[in-house]
Subunit: 222 residues, 4 copies
DNA sequence: TATGAATGAGTGTTCATTCAT
DNA sequence: AATGAATGAACACTCATTCAT
């Protein structure tokens, strides 16, 4: 019985190894430019073996996306206590994002791969049956937070929370795609992070209820 | 004397015909999925003939982009009177956009093709010498309008206008890319248009100077 | 009647003009790299018009070759007096070559084009019915000179004059092809000319009858 | 244990099979006229498979050349004893050439392919870093032999050995190219071989020091 | 389980040649 | 006589996917 467990474990390890190799290639060369050949070579496996673990390139890429999204979700939970306000949750999102993905890599993976597979992502799914439960979970979580902000009188009550969610995520997506175009070393610069924060802040202000004190809208520590 | 003119005209027509076929294919299948072969077949020409009119795929795509951008610029001018305020200019942008591209196609072309040729568009150019003067003109025009809004005390004086331009254009880009994913008939629905307007409105509010009366920020007729 | 003559003359002029354009292109870019398109563009004519004068690329190239060969023959005659010895004739060949084609161009044309059309030229024709009478004339003239040298006891009586002719011409061909690979400005250098002379001299010595005084074999002025 | 060896062997065989198919095509149609498609078809493989073994056409052709050159070198060594005189070495060259390539094919391959890839060959390389070590080795070996003949007082001390090498090799090249133009069955005739020998002999005489006894210059057994 | 080997269907691009006007 | 326009047939090269072992 131990033997089959080991088998299972090894299989999982190899799976993750392939995913990691693919991730690295995506980060260094961009999704558009990598082939199954590249991934297999990097993983020191044959192409056929890669196909043993992922039955198509699309599935492999989706899995990479999902894994990154799962990582993001798990990490965000750490920051998200129950009973917290909407704005506090948004701060947590940002903070978690900032702390976890300060180097941007996870986000680049999520958005770049996602957009490559399914250009125009954020408008679709969010309700339909999806192959990407984790990515969807992020969307849903964000949506709930926005609803809460509305309920708490911070956001404009007329704000369409579905639209707002897609909008927010799209912005991340675009910023990240741009960042992915930069030289690998430049990505880590606080400049990018700052730019993303500014955009996030602008959007939050745009979401706000009329007349609300702007100091309540800060997404970073007051 | 009329003969060479007719030739010229016919050549222009054929040129535009090819562009239109390419446009249609892009709209129905997405830029990523079309080949010169496809374009030629749709135009009922041989590939070599297409190359007679456009010396490379890149040039053809850029021309499609530029043509759409030119159309947008021309139309915007009609709405844009000299000596107008920044907010009025923004309204014009929106109005021109709404009237001219109510069916979205031009915008889909511009953003989709542009992003395909040059992924991560909004971060680049905007100053460097470019093969796409018309597209760049839109970017520059937008930036100037944002600067004007700042100067007129409508937008937050701390707003980075370059960032804001990229942000705004990116939002259009993303919305459009999303729209491009929809079934061709759904695209024409006022729903999309309304969504874009809402997003535009949110961004403008996000750009606003603190405390400014929101009624001044309306992008549609008051 | 004057009118048709003028027509004829104009036609000839245009013909030669096309040939000259092709020549220039060959000299500057090499035979391998020129297309009918290039030739037509250089001649400021349409491709179809070029085909009016030359029914295929092969025929055009052959004509270029033939014209260059004709030029060489005409010029050589000036140096070749009747009743002259074989060695004097060889000197004339060299001298004519040196004076006329000091810049190598004609030779580059002849050999490069010829080899392109018909790789391995000098072994063939020389007896069979040929499309290239002028090129063949050079071969024949050379052969007669070699025969004469044999008859005069300067060359080895066992020398196969047909072989010797092909050999000699081949060497010119190769040297010229090499020269054609150089930068246009380097070609004019006396270095090339000197190299060709040395090779010519070596071959003449190789042709010589055993024991003959080497001073009799000089191909340049004694 | 035997399994990977068999694999290796089979791969080598397939590799050689492709090379042989390419060789045959080159011999029957000339380098200029063969495409990767042709080679694949002849080998009864798909184009993609050919690319599996040779990553570009250039590399495949170079390999063909190198293999032929390697064969020539190996064979020549058998004839070349250390401490041998320059003339003996030349005899060996000829003898090796005659015995190994009596049917000319190897030489046709070497010179034709080489000239195709790198028109004007003999002038270049011979010193610069090269992708074709075996071909270069032949050039170098020939040059050393010529130098030795000069040192031994057999060749004219004023002979430029670099020039002489290029000259000699060019002659082989041309003769071989000519031979390649003949009908496949005619190539095997002793006539060609004899012709090449005569030319080789003429050149050696041309290289000789003045007054040297011609019997010392025989390239075949006295 | 793992893989080496194979491939079909493209991909953008070029060019000698033809033909209606 | 002249040409603008058109094209078929190539070309080198790529890649996701399959399959026998």
């Amino acid at each position: 019985m131990g033997i089959s467990e080991r088998r299972e474990r090894e299989k999982d390890e190899r799976r993750r190894m392939i995913l990691n190799c693919a991730r690295e290639l995506i980060l260094s060369q961009g999704v558009q430019n990598i082939s199954m050949e590249d991934i297999a070579r990097k993983a020191e496996l044959s192409k056929a073996t890669v196909y043993l673990y992922f039955s198509s390139k699309e599935i492999l890429l989706n899995e990479i996306c999902e894994e990154a999204a799962r990582g993001f979700i798990d990490q965000s939970k750490l920051f998200l206590e129950p009973g917290v306000t909407g704005m506090a949750a948004l701060k947590c999102f940002w903070s978690g994002y900032e702390k976890l993905f300060g180097n941007l890599d996870e986000m680049i993976i999520i958005f770049q791969v996602r957009n490559f597979m399914n250009p125009g992502l954020p408008l679709i799914s969010l309700d339909e049956r999806s192959e990407s439960p984790n990515v969807d979970a992020i969307l849903n979580s964000m949506r709930e937070t926005i609803d809460q902000c509305k309920a708490e009188g911070v956001f404009d009550p007329n704000l369409d929370s579905l639209l707002a969610t897609r909008f927010l995520l799209s912005m991340f997506s675009v910023t990240v795609e741009n960042a992915a175009r930069m030289r690998t070393e430049d990505r880590k610069s606080p400049f990018i992070m700052n730019e993303m924060k500014n955009i996030f802040q602008i959007i939050v202000r745009g979401f706000a209820r009329e007349g609300i004190d702007r100091s309540l809208l800060n997404i970073t520590e007051s």
